[in-house]
């Protein structure tokens, strides 16, 4: 092969066969299932779970009202996450006592309610605040820095972790 032929072979891009007008129309108008944005296999990978690429934040950091900082590593968050096992949703569940992080064990599960209970005292006092991580098999933009704060629900206080 002469030089010219070699260059031609190296730069040859296979052209797509022109599709029929009917195919183009079908692709353009078909609805995409939101849960199929990424394959289950890809979601289970480091890249699929939003980490491991470049210098992206790989943890959740929470500035607590006590003044200290709570660090939740990505590895802990996703340790038991298993899409194939049926985990289409995933959350960080932070134990709450007296309207603040209690210092107890943080859980990771498929519960989705952002809070359990309201207020500081009584039988309905808040016990859990959640940070959503995955919803409908899709990774949310969840890793990063949060603050612990209070919001109002029907006149009662709820601890909420909001991203800053």
């Amino acid at each position: 092969m002469d030089a010219t032929s070699s260059y031609g072979a190296a730069t040859f891009v296979k052209q797509q066969t022109e599709a029929a007008a009917a195919d183009i129309y079908a692709n353009a108008t078909s609805l995409q299932d939101s849960s199929s944005g990424l394959s289950d296999d890809f979601m289970d990978t480091t890249q699929g779970l939003g980490g491991g690429v470049g210098n992206r934040v790989n943890n959740i950091y929470i500035f607590l009202t006590s003044g200290s900082t709570l660090t939740i590593p990505r590895s802990a968050i996703f340790a038991n996450f298993d899409i194939a096992g049926g985990n289409t949703d995933w959350s960080v569940s932070i134990p709450i006592d007296n309207l603040a992080y209690s210092g107890g064990t943080i859980a990771y599960n498929n519960e989705t309610a952002l809070n359990v209970g309201t207020g500081a005292s009584g039988g309905s006092a808040q016990t859990i605040a959640r940070i959503p991580i995955v919803r409908d098999k899709l990774m949310l933009n969840a890793l990063g820095v949060y603050k612990e704060g209070l919001i109002c629900k029907n006149g009662e206080a709820i601890v909420e972790y909001y991203k800053i």
């Binding site: 007296n98 309207l99 207020g119 500081a120 005292s121 603050k147 704060g149 209070l150 919001i151 109002c152 629900k153 029907n154 006149g155 009662e156 206080a157 909420e160 909001y162």
Partner: protein
């Protein structure tokens, strides 16, 4: 109580739509009785703390109650709310006025374009610039109906108010010491949550035939500076009973400052009897006067009069969901 629409508000991430000012209970509190400024003489947080330091549970309870007051208070209800006075003399016309509004409920309302309507919780998330005023107010007044020039100064009036100020300015983080040291934080409180006031005035013609002035004022808040006083006030000459009490209203701890005042006067040349009775208690008070006089010769003339004021605060109403 009415049912409110469910809502959620981020506010300032502190449970309220505004930043909460701090108050140092050991200095800078204006007196309710003499105008001086200094430490609070009587205080209790909405979590029940009245001295020393607070537990986290007590602070949290105060926050719950402060939020309940801000977001969910619907009304304030009076107990006894009445005023009356009457008098007659052989000199001139009889005078009387009377008003009763026992168990009256003042509902938290807003005014927009001169129209009043209930100020529901979800509206409290934002400061609507169209709102001209808001508050819980009931007041009524009755004047003597003789119809001459002194009828208007013969009156009985009653009122009950909730939230004397814009609430943004009357809810506080209370510190038992410097506000720069968070370890002094003892909980949330309010400077003015309610006021009940009744007054009656009677004046015969001539004034020496007899006059009375009775009033009762009941204030409720989380902290007060002031001195208690009973007996004849050296400045006014009124019989007074002014006291502070720990009390519970709407299931929350408060301080009640009750001021009762009574005075009856008849001409100095008269042979007369005068009785003034005042009694202050937690969230309520009474004041009453009686007089009768015989002015003797050269014209046989007599006069007599009686009066009474009562004021009490019975409870707070809240929205439910």
């Amino acid at each position: 109580m009415p049912t409110a629409t469910t809502f959620q508000a981020k506010g300032r991430r502190n449970g309220f739509p505004f930043c909460i000012p701090k108050v140092d209970l050991t200095s800078g509190i204006p007196s309710s009785t003499d105008g001086s400024v200094g430490p609070a003489d009587f205080w209790v947080t909405l979590g029940g703390v009245s001295s020393g330091t607070a537990s986290q549970a007590q602070i949290d309870l105060s926050l719950n109650n402060a939020m309940k007051l801000y977001w969910n208070q619907y009304s304030i209800t009076a107990g006894n709310l009445s005023a009356s006075s009457s008098g007659e003399s052989s000199f001139a016309l009889s005078r009387s006025s009377e008003i009763q509004a026992n168990n009256k409920e003042a509902i938290y309302q807003k005014t927009i374009s001169e129209e009043e309507s209930d100020y529901v919780p979800v509206e409290r998330a934002c400061d609507n610039p169209e709102i001209q005023s808001r508050g819980m107010v009931f007041s009524d007044r009755h004047e003597d109906e003789t119809g001459d020039s002194i009828s208007r100064i013969n009156f009985s009036s009653v009122s009950i108010n909730g939230r004397l100020e814009i609430f943004d300015d009357s809810i506080f983080r209370m510190y038992n010491g410097s506000t720069d040291d968070e370890s002094n934080f003892v909980g949330y409180g309010v400077s003015n949550i309610s006021l009940a006031f009744t007054r009656t005035k009677l004046r015969l013609i001539p004034a020496s035939a007899g006059s009375v002035d009775n009033s009762v004022k009941v204030q409720v808040g989380s902290f007060f500076r002031g001195q208690e006083q009973s007996g004849i006030d050296p400045d006014s000459g009124d019989e007074v009973d002014e006291k502070f009490f720990n009390c519970t209203l709407g299931g929350m701890d408060f301080i009640s400052f009750t001021e009762c005042s009574a005075r009856a006067i008849v001409g100095s040349t008269a042979s007369s009897t005068i009785e003034n009775v005042v009694s202050a208690s937690a969230l309520s008070g009474t004041a009453s006067s009686n007089f009768n006089a015989d002015f003797g010769s050269p014209v046989s003339a007599t006069s007599e009069g009686t009066s009474e004021c009562k004021a009490s605060i019975a409870g707070l109403g809240f929205y439910t969901y």
